[in-house]
């Protein structure tokens, strides 16, 4: 691997783009319900919503690695950023990173291996949702030389590289500043080595950043000022963009607005290549879905293609497994996937003597809409469906209570072994999984510890087939939100496609620029 020249001309949807220009301010809106909320502050180690605050983290800390892709979203790969290079041992049990020389935090202290180690140790000790699930060996973190640091695992861990862009270990904060300021002040005004420094931070409201003059990449960032602003939904955000109060919005998912924005000449809409498809998790532990026939009935009654057409204007792909077009190991077809077949569904339901299902999801616009559509489809097959959407806590409660029947969720990540991966939904003994199948556990474990990519691909494909054969959970729409940007704004991930890391794309803010 190695550094990227960075300034590659990024072609948005808005036609030919000239050379990047220096200067200007940019206001980015974030949905208050997701990325727009950072209640625990922006210290990567303690930010419990770190998974949704990737944008802010990138702007402040830069990142050891970044996920990049070609402008159309293809050829996605993790590249070093503050890390100059990395090296994975043959057996996949150790991983060594070499840092770029001469990077300084904005407080003037060096970003070296010691700093990275300090950050990692803090990060792993804290309860951040973006904490990586590394199978770290005892004393697994070793500083080799001032610019080199290595990790040792208890088992082969090939997903290590892919795990970086989504987790807090990617964001290196200044340990000196942390010590001087104390944790509580630091999380408000964190000090990193990223393209921007914090001017003002009102938690979950406004984050004002300005250009870091000592940024290690020459000529970057382009913008003088960058502001993240939390806003209460897609419609106000869209209006704010229209009114010119903001220039970008991450994570638009209201389809009618998306279509309206697409028709608006002043707006660039970038639909991200999806990485996590929707999945209808079925609880195989209790009735009715401990009966495979009931599960098959659900498969047979579900027509995600129709939902995609009807609700989403055919904007997305429909997956048959836990991978999506934007992610690794994607295959459009899964062998033996039980396709939509209403007659079969009816038959099964009749055989079962009726089927009553409680279908839940987390309250959000897209999920509720899909559930509503699913309810209709299933009812057509004679399945009696009640749907129920809950706040996050309600969903957690249902899962931990174990009494849920069906749950619409998203599955997967760019790399199925990293982040909220497939194991999270399908492994035995995990509270958020509805499956208890040793064979599947084994397949998934093997896949995550295999270094060879082709082999991994094969294992994941097998796992997907196993899921389909056992009717564990029908997959669906590979949904990803869109990014909205005003005309004249350009940047990788914002106006070009990069597969989303968790939900939103990891925009590389260093390279975002505005036509003056």
């Amino acid at each position: 691997g190695g550094g990227d020249s960075g300034g590659s001309a990024s072609g948005g949807t808005g036609g030919p783009v000239g050379e990047p220009q220096q200067g200007g301010e940019l206001t980015v809106l974030e949905d208050a319900a997701f990325a727009g909320s950072w209640p625990a502050g922006l210290d990567p180690a303690t930010n419990t919503t770190g998974g949704s605050n990737i944008a802010m983290n990138q702007a402040i800390f830069g990142g050891l690695f970044l996920l990049r892709a070609d402008d159309d979203g293809s050829n996605a790969r993790v590249e070093g950023h503050q890390a100059e290079s990395y090296e994975m041992s043959e057996d996949g049990t150790s991983f060594t990173i070499k840092l770029r020389d001469g990077i300084e935090f904005s407080d003037g202290t060096p970003l070296d291996a010691e700093a990275v180690r300090a950050n990692w140790e803090r990060a792993l000790a804290n309860a951040c949702t973006c904490k990586p699930n590394w199978p770290l060996a005892e004393n697994g973190i070793q500083v080799v030389d001032p610019l080199t640091i290595s990790l040792t695992f208890t088992r082969p861990f090939p997903a290590i590289l892919a795990s970086f862009p989504t987790s807090n270990v990617n964001w290196i904060a200044s340990p000196t500043a942390l010590q001087q300021m104390g944790e509580d002040a630091f999380k408000i005004k964190p000090v990193g080595a990223g393209p921007f420094t914090v001017v003002d931070n009102q938690l979950s409201s406004v984050l004002e950043l300005e250009k870091n003059p000592n940024y290690f990449k020459e000529g970057l960032p382009y913008l003088d000022e960058l502001t993240f602003q939390s806003i209460g939904g897609d419609q106000p955000a869209y209006q704010a963009l229209q009114a010119g109060q903001a220039q970008a919005y991450e994570g638009l998912n209201t389809t009618p607005l998306l279509e309206q924005a697409q028709a608006n000449g002043q707006m660039q809409v970038t639909i991200q290549p999806a990485t996590s498809p929707y999945v209808v998790q079925l609880n195989t532990e209790i009735a009715p879905f401990n009966d495979p026939r009931a599960r098959e009935a659900i498969y047979r009654a579900t027509d995600f293609d129709a939902i995609n057409e009807g609700i989403f204007g055919g904007n997305y792909e429909v997956s048959q497994g836990f991978t999506a077009p934007g992610g690794k190991f994607y295959h459009a077809e899964v062998e033996g996937y039980p396709e939509y077949d209403l007659d079969r569904a009816k038959e099964l339901v009749q055989e079962l003597g009726g089927l009553t299902v409680n279908l839940g999801t987390i309250s959000n616009y897209v999920a509720t809409q899909i559930n509503t559509a699913l309810q209709t489809q299933w009812q057509e097959a004679g399945i009696d469906v009640t749907i129920e959407d809950s706040q996050l806590s309600g969903v957690i409660q249902k899962f931990t209570g174990g009494q849920w029947q069906a749950m619409l969720q998203t599955a997967g990540a760019w790399d199925p072994a990293a982040g909220v991966g497939v194991g999270f939904r399908f492994n035995s003994g995990v509270p958020y999984s509805g499956v208890n199948d040793p064979a599947l556990d084994q397949l998934l474990a093997d896949a995550s510890s295999t270094v060879d990519e082709a082999q991994r691909d094969d294992l994941y494909q097998q796992a997907a087939e196993l899921i389909a054969q056992n009717f564990y959970a029908p997959f669906g729409l590979a949904f990803a939100p869109a990014n909205l940007a005003a005309a004249g704004v350009h940047g990788p991930g914002l106006t070009t496609k990069i597969p989303p890391l968790l939900v939103n794309t990891g925009v590389i803010w260093d390279e975002v620029w505005r036509e003056q």
Partner: protein
């Protein structure tokens, strides 16, 4: 007052009148003291109720923060760190002890002192509420007067239609429509964001016009309807109005100088009762206009189960409601001579 401390200083006032009794002799002062005393149990009740209600909400800050992927061990650990493992009663008294000494605690989520959070956000909400309130009131009075001047007349009907409209449109829809018209189409006013007062009065006001209109318009409608009704009642039923007319006072003067003065008391009551609703309105409106105020904070705090912050916000809101009603009572005492002299 100092007289009691240093007896040798000649006391010019009647020595039998203690400072305390002199204080209590003023009915207005006594009213203030009495109402302030009454506020104590109310505020206590509010805090207890908040604690209780919040305890009903499933989930706690630890769970909420760590999200669905967190392990039970992580959650238990965080719970312990945040002190959430203690029983509710203990937590309440801990909190109360702090609150009484002016320490509202630290946010469960960010560990920031609540007082710091509030001081940053209070000005925004206060300004919003103040503007909404003033705008609604300032507009309601002339419109109601116009309407009441000729009940059943053209103005009356128009104001009736407008106010019914205002009362049947949800304020969040109104907010979005206002933005669509004034920010998107006309581009006169900003759609979102808060500019602090330090950055210039006009810049600050520009940003507040739409949100305060969204909150204020339904109130304006409500006040207009109320005031108009009361004015008409006064004009038709009160004998002193006839007296004024018999003096030769013109119809507008009767309405403004006589009837309005008496109607204002009813209006004040309504305004006082409404202030709570006014603040409630900020929760949604701040969300839409991306204003960093208390309402926005409250909603986030509820979602993250940051009960220390919720508690503080509720206390602030309740305090405003209590103070508003105190002010209403005082206004009565100041404006209504029948009360001022304590012989009703």
């Amino acid at each position: 007052m100092t007289a009691t401390a240093t007896p040798r200083v000649p006391v010019s006032r009647d020595p039998r009148v203690s400072p305390l009794s002199r204080l209590t002799a003023s009915p207005v002062l006594r009213l203030v003291v009495k109402r302030l005393l009454m506020a104590i149990p109310i505020m206590l009740g509010v805090t207890v109720l908040t604690f209780w209600v919040l305890s009903l909400i499933p989930g706690n800050a630890a769970q909420q923060l760590l999200g669905p992927e967190a392990t039970p061990e992580d959650i238990a650990l965080l719970e312990q760190q945040l002190g959430l493992d203690k029983p509710g009663v203990v937590r309440y008294f801990d909190w109360l002890q702090g609150a009484v000494t002016g320490d509202l605690g630290n946010s469960l989520v960010s560990r920031q002192p609540v007082s710091e959070i509030l001081s940053a956000r209070l000005p925004v909400t206060a300004e919003l509420v103040f503007l909404a309130f003033v705008v609604s009131l300032v507009l309601a009075v002339p419109v109601a007067l116009l309407a009441a001047h000729k009940p059943g007349g053209v103005m009356d009907r128009i104001s009736m239609m407008i106010s019914t409209l205002g009362l049947s449109v949800a304020n969040y829809v109104l907010a979005l429509l206002l933005v669509l018209v004034f920010a998107v189409s006309l581009g006169w006013l900003p759609a979102i964001g808060y500019t602090p007062l330090e950055d210039g009065l006009w810049a600050n006001l520009r940003g507040m016009i739409l949100p305060s209109a969204a909150i204020g318009f339904p109130l304006f409608c409500y006040y207009t309807r109320f005031l108009r009704g009361d004015l008409v009642d006064q004009m038709q039923q009160e004998e002193y109005v006839t007296t004024a007319r018999a003096k030769g006072v013109g119809s507008w003067a009767v309405l403004i100088k006589h009837a309005f003065r008496n109607s204002s008391f009813g209006l004040i009551t309504i305004v006082g009762l409404n202030l709570g609703a006014l603040i409630g309105g900020t929760v949604i409106i701040e969300q839409i206009f991306a204003l960093p105020g208390i309402g926005q904070m409250l909603l986030q705090a509820i979602n993250t189960r940051d009960f220390v912050v919720v508690q503080a916000a509720v206390v602030i809101f309740a305090l405003v409601a209590v103070v508003a009603n105190l002010v209403v009572d005082l206004l009565y005492a100041v404006l209504d001579p029948r009360i001022r002299y304590g012989s009703r």
